[in-house]
């Protein structure tokens, strides 16, 4: 077919000289690449090169606002800046720690690993006494724990660990609405410890191996161990009574001496003294209620059937042995607290 007139002409075309005309632009080469582009917006990565003019407070606020920036590195850089500033001068911050926390907590779900790590670092250096209400942070953490990506799950477990270390008995976390039961439910889902459905009797012939016993790839195993250890910490924090020093009441009474029962009439020094009344929020059910007292938590833990399913799950996980088994033992130990307190 190469002999048709059309083909011949096409072939000959390659060797023809292009005619140049006076007053006209030179015709474009046939192999020229079109480099023109259309963009709706032009993003400048560094928006201001001079930093000398600004004072520290403005810079701090600027970096705080950059936490919502579109670029990963920008977010990471501003996080590290904030970390250094906060670590250096924890006493006189430009913004209260609660504000910094509110800005930083969405980064728990951030897609980039380095940003998440840096965010954790920032949270760790924040002064723990003025963090304000933690329920949003806990919500972000729970969302992260159930995230599709394993990396985000891991890093949000770190966040939960940090949350448990803030106050001695993690009372801040526990007093959040839904802080106790919902978090436990999340753990239950993650570990697929559903008591009612024994893995062998799940669907007739086919038995899906529960995730706790599967010896999956190493990253999965690591996640599982981390989940179990965090769970044990969480249980320990939730199920132990706060230590009451025997003579604390006496000291207090002596301090206030002529008056008795002053504490009853004073405003409580907790963050939201009347939060338990839930005057302005939506109505709460068993799951989303806040349980301030360890006894209550134990009662709910047993009544909702969580304890029995956890017992079953632990028994399975212990059989695994190795690292998982060890972590499971820690959880079992924590579970025993429930029977002790109860």
């Amino acid at each position: 077919m190469g002999s048709s007139a059309k083909r011949k002409k096409e072939k000959a075309k390659d060797f023809q000289k292009t005619k140049l005309k006076v007053g006209k632009a030179r015709p474009k080469n046939t192999n020229a690449t079109d480099t023109s582009f259309a963009a709706k917006s032009i993003v400048l990565k560094q928006q201001s090169l001079s930093e000398g003019g600004r004072d520290a407070a403005a810079l701090f606020n600027h970096n705080l606002s950059l936490l919502g920036s579109k670029s990963d590195t920008q977010r990471k850089d501003s996080l590290s800046y904030l970390t250094t500033i906060v670590a250096a001068s924890a006493e006189n911050l430009t913004q209260p720690p609660a504000v910094i926390l509110a800005k930083a907590q969405p980064l728990i779900l951030d897609g980039s690993k380095s940003v998440r790590e840096q965010a954790l670092k920032l949270l760790r250096v924040l002064p723990t006494d003025q963090l304000g209400s933690l329920d949003q942070t806990l919500l972000y953490t729970r969302a992260g724990m159930a995230h599709l990506s394993n990396d985000i799950r891991l890093s949000s477990l770190d966040i939960l660990d940090w949350l448990l270390t803030i106050s001695p008995t993690a009372s801040d976390v526990m007093s959040c609405p839904g802080g106790w039961v919902k978090t436990l439910r999340t753990f239950q889902n993650l570990l697929s410890w559903h008591a009612g459905i024994a893995p062998s009797a799940m669907n007739g012939k086919w038995s899906a191996a529960p995730k706790t016993t599967s010896s999956g790839p190493s990253s999965n195993n690591k996640l599982l161990v981390h989940q179990l250890t965090t769970l044990s910490k969480f249980l320990v924090a939730g199920l132990t009574q706060p230590p009451i020093s025997p003579n604390a009441a006496q000291i207090r009474a002596a301090k206030l001496f002529p008056c008795c029962q002053t504490d009853v009439h004073l405003l409580s020094r907790k963050q939201k003294p009347f939060g338990y009344l839930n005057l302005f929020g939506a109505a709460r059910d068993v799951e989303s209620d806040a349980y301030e007292d360890a006894d209550e938590r134990v009662r709910v833990f047993v009544e909702t059937g969580l304890k029995s399913s956890f017992d079953l799950g632990i028994a399975e996980a212990k059989r695994e042995g190795g690292e998982v088994g060890r972590a499971a033992c820690a959880v079992e130990k924590a579970l025993k607290l429930a029977t002790e307190v109860g």
Binding site: G68, P106, D135, Q136, L139, Y140, R142, L148, N189, S192
Partner: protein
Amino acid sequence: MKRKVAALEKVDADLPNLQHKIRNDPISYKDDFANQYSQYSAILELFLQSPTATDDKGLIRLRDLIDFVSHVADCYPRLTGEFAKQLINLLQLHHATLESELRDKIVGSLVLLKKKDIIDSNTLLNTLWPLLVSTPSKSLRAILYTKIVAEMKSSNSKSTNHKLNRSMQTTCYNHIASDPASPKGLWSVKLTRELWKRQIWSDAKAVSIMEMASLSEDAKVVTGGVRFFLGGDQEREDADDESDNDENIDMRKLRHQAGINKKTGKRDRELKAAASKVKRKEKKKNAPHPLNFSALHLLNDPQGFAEKLFQRHLQPSQPKVRLNLEQKLFVLQLVSRLVGLHQLTLIQLYSYFLKFLTPKQPSVTSFLASLAQSTHSLVPPDVLEPLVQKIANEFVSEAAAAEVASAGLNGIREVCVRQPLAMNETLLQDLVMYRKSKDKGVQMAARGLLSLYREVGADMLRKRDRGKDAALGLRAGERQQAKFGEVQEGGIEGLDLLEKWKEEQGLESEEDEQKGWENWDAESDDSDDSGGWINVESDGEDIEISDSEDEKDSKEKKAKAKAAKEAAEVAEGKGTSLESEAAMKQEEARISKLATTRILTPADLAKLTELRQAAAVNSALPLAKRRKLAQAQTANNARHADDAVTADQIEGLANYGKKLTREERIAHAKNEGEDKNDHRSTTARRKEKKEAEGKSTTNKEKARKKNFLMTIGKAKRKGKRSLVEERRILKGHVARSKRGGRRGNIGQ
């Protein structure tokens, strides 16, 4: 192994993938779903804590999760029991502040949940409807409206969902009734009109919504309701026609293409689907027409409705709703149509017209049309007489412009067609004189009036104006002016002719009658026996009742009329000869015998019309005149009693008398006003027209266009043919042309 797992994990990380997997195997992925669901709950809770302050990423995450959960919610009904309720709450509480994309997603998800039968249509509509009415966002309203209409359509697609329709109609009704002064009622009007147009709602309840709207206290709602009554039925018919017209499948073309194209299973299926579609359409065309009553006929209490409309919107000098002239005209049109159609009595209406009947009144022709429309034979003539007098005084004079005079005359004629008694003798004779006017429009209008009164009241005309037929009729005493309230006796025109014909033919036996029916059976469509009965819904009850009453009335009237006639005859018995009386009685008995003793077969009816036409007086007229008469007849028949009188009819032929300019006349003759700058050849234009009609070129043209190189071989060989060969070819050519081409034209 390790690499593979890693890749899988990466793929796992997006929701659409998980959604796909869950669709295939819901049980295995239950845990994954539970995780995602708990994530959704957490993010939703976060969002609810600060609905307005959530950042972009949070919104996008929430939107994705809502989309995901709603797509697979039917796989886990227990886990997601609260999901629909949460969405509904979210929408109801925060619709004003929600980010628009998220808001649209929630609406879409709710519709999806309805499609999956997780919520029922009632819940969906009860959620969407209040939002439609209350939201300030235009785009949301547009979405909600389309979703609601689509939902109503889909739930009525298989069979009418009476329950849902009733509840929605009640909602619409209450919406207007509870707050008649708010402009929000327009949404009810809009929805009802749309569903009426699509024939989803075609019952009295929908009409009562519109009735309520017309009587409400907001100008827009009122106009919406009134315009529905004036144009809703037309709109419905148009929509019906349109749906018939679109997607015309050319089966021949498809079959031809199937013969040429590669045969695949898919194409085969497509062809079959097209064939079945065509068949269905054909069947639908032959099916009995669905009984759709017009909105004006479905009104519960037309008299009350007309009175209320008039008293609220037209009569008071300070009405609750301020309507502008155009809107007022709409209301007036509706009132007058109701009065004309249902023959209502609304005496105040006519005196209301009085002040508008001046040539300087804007859109006076509409007022004239409304006046004509509201006239019927039961309106007292003394109410109409001043109106006719006023029109004549104001419009028809030598001093008035020709258009004005012709409009006035046309208006008077339209009134008098309906109530001839509204005219008095002197005025009529005066007006008829205008037929000598110089202006063609006036001339024709006056002639129209004259020809009308030759029929209905010839004795009011001057003797020389009466014409031959009328004069003869008057002398014979056949033509008498109908009195007020007189109702014509019913009968079958031409029945005596039929009987005569039967006698002549000797067709009296049973067999002949049988034959008549057989014949009819053979002619009838086969769809008739398959189609069976048309079910009329019980909504029509009131109409039935009134029908039977009418029947009873007319029977009674007939009986009375007969008795009166007999009495009269007895009274004046002296004058008439006994003999003729007997003959008349005999005749009456004979006619009644035919009509009462047997049922006329369709063959009989066909013969009857034939005989009637043959016996008509105009059979003796010359052909051209006959044709003209027939045309007038068909034009008259085309105008249905339900149709409105329009301003155009009143303006009528006012422009007729104007002379066209030369250019206009040429353009008119050439009939190519559309593109003056088309300078192509006639052939090119014709070809384009053909192409636009989807036709191909002729064989000759194809041969002419054929590439030279393709024909050259044949041309070369042609010169070298032997004589025998030449003969064979010529013979073959002749034979082929006789047969009609290679394939022959036998099958076509």
